[in-house]
């Protein structure tokens, strides 16, 4: 709490709007919001089925798969960024096919930012949703099956609505983590204003020259963090929420 308090005390409250306007903060903010949202969408697309597999499939090797999926949680993001670079760059292990077949290269593009953020943030969604699917009422899924629902229909009509609060919480955690992503992003996508310079990178950049705008940008990130936390608290503490 204390360092955050210091940030608030030192904040240049009076010149705040001007600082935000001139520091290129709005561009970085918009890029950050777009990329974090896209990364969350990707995480939902791949993470929810993955969470279902981890929670429900009984096969040898599932434990290993879970460890791999959750590895980015404990991996230093810069290592993740380097791994992405080695894998997906123009001459990378997989990237070279992307390059020769599609003429497309991910690193140092906005798409690269989204990939880096997804890599780092998706485990937050997977781990939350997996727990919820595990705890979801199997009895209700059985009941749905006896009423003629196929596995897919059971998942969409019963399981998903039951885990909706956790899904929202997981998505919010994932989004917040993506928004703050620094290490993997700067390593894999670089730091180009307008295309890959997200808020955290902009803060870091500003800090090299003038701390005042950096503090102003940080305040916005802090505000976002507080809002996310407040909404999560509501989700998690709401009575009767079926987690």
């Amino acid at each position: 709490m204390l360092p955050l308090l210091a940030l608030l005390i030192r904040a240049p409250w009076r010149g705040l709007p001007g600082l935000l306007a001139t520091s290129g903060g709005t561009t970085a903010l918009r890029l950050s919001l777009e990329c974090a949202t896209a990364a969350t969408a990707l995480s939902l697309l791949f993470g929810v089925p993955l969470a279902w597999v981890l929670a429900r499939v009984r096969l040898p090797g599932i434990g290993l798969l879970r460890a791999l999926v959750l590895l980015p949680l404990v991996l230093p993001p810069v290592v993740g960024g380097l791994a992405l670079l080695e894998g997906l760059s123009r001459a990378g292990v997989y990237g070279r096919f992307l390059q020769s077949w599609l003429g497309y290269s991910l690193p140092f593009t906005t798409a690269g930012v989204i990939v880096a953020e997804t890599f780092v943030a998706m485990p937050f969604l997977v781990i939350t949703v997996e727990g919820a699917i595990r705890a979801a009422d199997r009895d209700l899924e059985e009941a749905a099956a006896t009423l003629g629902a196929t596995r897919t229909a059971v998942f969409i009509r019963v399981t998903l609505p039951l885990i909706a609060p956790s899904l929202l919480a997981g998505a919010a955690l994932c989004w917040a983590r993506a928004l703050g992503e620094f290490g993997a992003t700067i390593t894999f996508a670089g730091n180009f204003p307008g295309t890959t310079q997200t808020m955290p990178l902009a803060v870091y950049n500003q800090l090299q020259t003038d701390p005042q705008p950096a503090i102003a940008l940080s305040l916005i990130l802090l505000l976002v963090a507080v809002v996310v936390l407040a909404s999560l608290r509501e989700r998690w503490l709401r009575p009767g929420s079926a987690l």
Partner: protein
């Protein structure tokens, strides 16, 4: 798919022409095994009764396709639901089987209307069509006024009706009910039982009702199966099962004293637990293993050895415990044999009975039913 394929497929799916449900198979679940053979006719309501762990729920799960048969087969009308030998297995979502679960399992995130419309939605009908169809069932089970409510806002009896409506709305060919009234309080039970009976009467297909309530079995079912340790130990009309139980479990449920023994000469049964009892044993051979049932009201309690009684059974006993029922007192008595006996509160006061009091018991041979033991 060629026409030939289709014919072969149809031949595999459909067994010999038969109406109703036929089940003959073994189901394993954990370390437990159920082995049973039963049929239920169209429009017939079969009750399944038995202690916990007897295999009642396993039977329902096998019929609904939630647990696979280990051996044997299940056939509903001409459709084979499960055939272990031929490796035919219809998954639950493709079985025309409706199951009303013991705790109802209503979907908490859906309104009553959408719960009832669930099967139609699951089959891919649009929301409006599905809701229109649900409306019919809501109407029929008098749930229209509750249509907008969530399951959490329903009373037990209402939830039971919604669960039934939801199962019936899928238009199943076989209806299964797992202890339909056990989650209700005594007062609600009374009204719901009568209601359920009429709904089951309207359903034209075979119905299975798992229960542990003898009254429920009497009112709801046409025929009763008694399950014990994964085997069928008795089958008959509810009245037959209640008056001539073959298991201690059922005897206790219907409140009868049940003794096992061997018929000796002179219509006397030598009881396995010691003692003997005279009975009206018509059609039974001497030396045959028999069961003897005596109603608690058919035994008289005396303070002293009765001298001028016509009862052929007179024996001493000791009061072990007493329990006040609504209008009478049930005594638990130790003796040769021990017995449950009902007396009036007035008799209790007159005889000054308390645990440890020695008494004499008498019962007329005509009040003692003896019948062949099935195993």
């Amino acid at each position: 798919m060629t026409d030939l394929d289709r014919e072969v497929g149809a031949a595999i799916r459909s067994g010999p022409g038969a109406a109703g449900l036929q089940f003959a198979g073994r189901v394993r679940r954990g370390g437990f095994e159920l082995q049973a053979e039963l049929t239920v006719g169209e429009g017939e309501v079969l009750g399944v009764i038995g202690p916990n762990g007897a295999g009642k729920s396993t039977l329902l799960r096998a019929l609904a396709g939630l647990t696979r048969l280990h051996a044997g087969r299940i056939q509903l009308g001409r459709t084979i639901l499960d055939d272990a030998e031929r490796e035919i297995f219809l998954p639950p979502e493709r079985r025309p089987v409706g199951l009303v679960f013991q705790n109802y399992r209503l979907f908490p995130h859906l309104s009553v209307r959408d719960n009832v419309a669930f099967s139609a939605r699951a089959r891919g009908l649009g929301r409006r069509t599905a809701r229109e169809r649900a409306e019919r069932w809501l109407d029929r089970l008098e749930l229209s006024s509750l249509a907008e409510r969530r399951p959490a806002q329903l009373s037990g009896g209402q939830a039971q009706r919604v669960a039934l409506a939801r199962a019936l709305a899928a238009e199943p060919g076989l209806l299964l009910l797992d202890e339909p009234l056990s989650a209700l309080d005594a007062e609600t039970k009374l009204s719901v039982r009568a209601e359920l009976s009429s709904h089951l009467g309207e359903f034209g297909g075979p119905t299975l009702v798992v229960t542990h309530d003898p009254l429920e079995a009497m009112v709801l079912t046409d025929r009763l199966l008694v399950l014990q340790a994964g085997r069928i130990v008795q089958s008959g009309t509810p009245a037959e099962v209640a008056s001539r139980p073959v298991t201690g479990y059922v005897a206790q449920l219907v409140g009868l004293n049940l003794y096992a023994g061997r018929l000796g000469s002179d219509d006397r049964v030598l009881l396995d637990g010691g003692g003997q009892i005279a009975c009206a044993a018509s059609g039974l051979a001497s030396g045959q293993a028999v069961l003897v049932a005596v109603a608690p009201g058919a035994i008289t309690v005396h303070g002293h050895q009765p001298r001028d009684t016509s009862a052929r059974n007179v024996w001493p006993a000791t009061v072990r415990g007493l329990e006040l029922l609504t209008d009478r007192v049930r005594l638990q008595l130790d003796g040769q044999p021990g017995a449950l006996v009902d007396i009036t509160p007035a008799a209790l006061a007159e005889l000054r009975l308390q645990p440890g009091t020695p008494v004499w018991l008498s019962a007329k041979a005509t009040e003692v039913a003896a019948y062949a033991a099935p195993y």
